[in-house]
Symmetry: C2
Subunit: 172 residues, 2 copies
Amino acid sequence: MIRTGTLALAITIFGVSTLSAAKRTREEASPVYGVTLPKGYRHWTLISVAQENGRHNDIRAILGNAIAVKAFREKRRPFPDGAVIVRLAWRYQSSPRNDAVFPAPQSFIAGEPTNIQVSVKDSRRYPGSGGWGYGQFERGIANPSATLAQSCFACHAKLKKGDDLVFTDWAP
Amino acid sequence: MIRTGTLALAITIFGVSTLSAAKRTREEASPVYGVTLPKGYRHWTLISVAQENGRHNDIRAILGNAIAVKAFREKRRPFPDGAVIVRLAWRYQSSPRNDAVFPAPQSFIAGEPTNIQVSVKDSRRYPGSGGWGYGQFERGIANPSATLAQSCFACHAKLKKGDDLVFTDWAP
């Protein structure tokens, strides 16, 4: 009886663990490319900032790991393998607090976070997309849409060849 | 003859060195507060981003040192001594390159850098300005205007007391 119980418990635990691992992997890695949110990215060096109107209506920051930062600073294109770029974005919203202090309503700040997009340069792993793998994350979870993941390359590929599929330049 | 020459040379070198040092100090430190551009600040952690219209017409990034980042993340106010906040700003300008790729003109990026403002928390050194010392820098040189330096506190002091004279919150 004890043995059966132990076995049942073991099966249950094993089953749950396997399920959790599968779920975790699915939630952490982007479809198509298997890109994950890099550890510690929030403390990476700022490359530049931007603001998008239209459907996005966001304000953004682009961060990079050490390999990416070096390439950005040296204007090196194409980026070397190992370069990782993380684009954070937040709702673009006016700031009543700031506007109350400034002489006129003029201040816009980062509101709720929208999504984070990650670009990983690995020319051997991603030969079909110019050497870049992509992922989009909302609240730390990879967006599961393969169509969305594929749209990254489709859009970045519209840039001229010398840009190596990257929109951003280093902001001095 | 050689001795006189050597002496003259020594005086010249000493004179030039002293002048350079004085000039360097004047260029590096803000008036009123003596705040300098912190070494390595460009690689500090991003706190948030913002965009100012009106006279500024800029897009900005706020970076912080480790003490500031910890306080921002923990919503700790007032900031502890040693916190340093660096606000970078660039011309807010549309990006024809991005707009050619996107479905409509909607993209704004960082243009030429305008100025960098530094806030240093040191309650013993700056008791007359809420514990904060300020400096503004253009192309790495401290703006020499005492009126400008004093206007920092005058403006930040308009915020409510609980903000500890800081406009920015952590962008998650």
